[in-house]
């Protein structure tokens, strides 16, 4: 990955003053690995959370670059509820290592969606990530944690899983490779 990307960056440098834009299909790395689903089980009259995490690889050499924006441009998830009535929200956290994602503040929060009984509810995921994490995207490796936070006001457990079906992160930066 690094050798390939580094070689190709010669040509990025040759493109003069401009911006480097990365559309990273994070879902393609998660699909089939089990990391694209977040099982949840929320006891009655309580709240709970569950999460999954994924490493994101970016081309090296952008350490001196300035990140203009980071945005989830195309994201979808299905909340596949098995039983119970409650709400499920999603948060996206980013850090330089996997452990850091446990304590990192949410860079993007998707408003809670109500789930009831056995049903599948699609959820659209998009929005700008907090600019406080911009610098992370100049690294060649970072970690993302998707947390599903649920509430259950009822008397029966809320169970099911959130399944990510698409997730593309768009990083726009002023490239300074050399």
């Amino acid at each position: 990955m690094k050798a390939l990307a580094a070689a190709l960056l010669v040509f990025v440098a040759a493109c003069g003053q401009g911006k480097a834009i990365f559309n990273v299909d994070v879902y393609s790395f998660m699909a089939g690995s089990g990391k694209d689903t977040i099982p949840y089980a929320i006891p009655p009259a309580s709240s709970a959370s569950a999460s999954t995490f994924q490493r994101i690889l970016l081309p090296p050499g952008f350490g001196k670059s300035i990140v203009d924006s980071v945005r989830i441009t195309s994201g979808n998830a299905n909340l596949i509820n098995s039983a119970g009535t409650g709400t499920i929200g999603l948060q996206f956290r980013f850090a330089a290592d996997s452990a850091g994602t446990n304590t990192a503040p949410a860079a993007l929060s998707i408003a809670p969606t109500t789930v009831t009984g056995a049903q599948t509810v699609p959820v659209a995921i998009s929005g700008d990530l907090s600019s406080t994490i911009n610098a992370l995207f100049t690294r060649d490796t970072l970690w993302m944690r998707i947390t599903a936070t649920g509430t259950n006001p009822g008397l029966t457990p809320v169970t099911g899983k959130g399944a990510i079906t698409a997730l593309v992160i768009r990083v726009v930066l002023q490239d300074k490779i050399f």
């Binding site: 050798a3 040759a14 299909d25 970016l58 300074k176």
Partner: protein, 452 residues
């Protein structure tokens, strides 16, 4: 340092087709106004055609100035835009600046700002977009995609660094220094697709190859030459007549090296599921001693008849050097250590190299009406350049125009004028050129004072 790396990389990868511009850089605004054609009997004519040694070079004979002094209007503007006491922090030279553009710096290197740029070629400033997935890598270089060469590209030239000597009776004895280099690169179809295809991009398991073939050799060559007049016209005092010239060189090669082979990236399958390998599998031939030997020669012919002059010169005919002590090495890339490893395959073996044949053909017609028409075809080792130009003098005034075909096979245009007052003249020439990364032509105004 980084600036230099960027500039050199750009020059090699992208600007290679522009080598002709550098070789033909001139301070003569008159020449620029005539599309680059030179009517002088020295310079290229004498360099490539040994018969010109037998002809006078004075300006009375050819109407050309003895020499030109450039009026560096471009430098004035350049240092106004880039104050000399602030060059260290100038965004043009500072890679850390967000305004730094390697294109602009490279353009500057290939277009020294001696003359005024009337129309600059635009430096591409487009965005570059990557689409990255586990099994997908697509690059969209935007407008810069046009810079990816479709065929082989490279740098190459045969130069005579110096040619010192003396002679009598038409004979010339001397020593010249020669230097020949040629570096060619070819992108294979997979690498080209990786850089230009915005739909498929890189495929899993692709091998992306940059094929290179570079050679350089240089040394000294004792030379014996002759130039003389075979026939003359009715009035022997004129230049009319047929002139021949020839020279035999004994090449004494000082050093030689040739590197051939691919540099490769072996893409994983899936693309980001495994670590791609980098590969170099090249052969390197180098001389062990300064013992290249060979013989070659130049021939030339010039015919002058009144206002008409035509010449043909060919250099380095049969110039093959035999290097009796060379070694052949295998160059590979060790993926584990990240080092380039060189191992000797064979040592103390003989290798033969050739110098490419270079040539010039030129013609000029000086009419009594003040009109001069000229043209030349030059090949200095890599590609042919053609210039055709005309000058019309009326009293102290002159107007000029011309066209040329550069080594990129692009048509270029020139026009200009001049004012001559006795031994001093002032000339201005406008010319288009493609000495940049852009496909658009730039226009430069050359200004010079000519001394006749």
């Amino acid at each position: 340092m980084r600036t230099g790396v960027v500039a050199v990389a750009l020059a090699l990868f992208v600007l290679a087709p522009l080598r002709s511009a550098r070789a033909q850089f001139s301070f003569d605004a008159r020449r620029y106004g005539m599309g680059g054609v030179s009517l002088s009997r020295d310079g290229n004519a004498r360099r490539f055609n040994p018969a010109y040694r037998a002809l006078k070079t004075n300006s009375q004979a050819t109407g050309t100035p003895k020499f030109s002094i450039p009026v560096p209007i471009g430098l004035i503007k350049f240092f106004k835009d880039h104050p000399i006491n602030q060059l260290s922090s100038d965004p043009m030279f500072d890679p850390k600046s967000t305004s730094f553009n390697p294109f602009e710096l490279t353009n500057l290197i290939f277009n020294p700002p001696i003359f005024y740029e009337v129309k600059k070629s635009p430096a591409p400033t487009n965005n570059v977009e990557f689409t990255i997935g586990k099994n997908q890598l697509i690059m969209n270089l935007g407008g810069a995609r046009v810079l990816i060469p479709e065929q082989d590209f490279g740098l190459g030239s045969t130069s005579r660094l110096f040619d010192a000597g003396a002679g009598f009776g038409g004979f010339h004895f001397g020593v010249m220094g020669f230097l020949q280099y040629d570096v060619a690169f070819t992108l294979d179809s997979a690498l080209r697709r990786a850089l230009t295809d915005t739909v498929t991009g890189i495929r899993p398991g692709d091998t992306l190859s940059l094929l290179s073939d570079g050679v350089a050799q240089g040394g000294l060559a004792p030379t014996v030459g002759f130039a003389g007049r075979l026939t003359h016209g009715a009035d022997p005092a004129t230049d009319d007549g047929l002139y021949i010239g020839g020279a035999v060189h004994y090449y004494m090669g000082a050093t030689f090296g040739r590197l051939t082979g691919p540099a490769q990236i072996l893409v994983g399958n899936p693309i980001f599921g495994s670590t791609p390998a980098a590969g170099i599998n090249d052969t390197l031939r180098t001389s062990n001693k300064a013992n290249g030997r060979g013989v070659g020669g130049d021939v030339g012919l010039v015919w002058v008849s009144g206002p008409f002059e035509v010449g043909v010169g060919v250099n380095d005919i049969g110039a093959q050097l035999t290097w009796s002590d060379t070694k052949l090495q295998h160059v590979t890339y060790n993926t584990a250590s990240g080092n380039i490893v060189t191992t000797i395959d064979t040592n103390h073996v003989e290798t033969k190299t050739k110098l490419p044949i270079t040539y010039i053909a030129n013609a000029a017609l000086r009419m009594g009406t003040g009109t001069t028409v000229g043209g030349d075809v030059i090949n200095s080792g890599r590609g042919t350049v053609i210039h055709v130009g005309v000058e019309q003098r009326t009293g102290p005034f002159a107007i000029r125009g011309g066209v040329s075909r550069d080594q990129r096979k692009k048509m270029q245009f020139g026009f200009g004028g001049g004012l001559r007052l006795g031994p001093i003249g002032f000339d201005v020439g406008f010319f288009t050129h493609s000495n940049s990364l852009s496909t658009e032509r730039a226009i430069t105004m050359a200004t010079a004072i000519s001394i006749y």
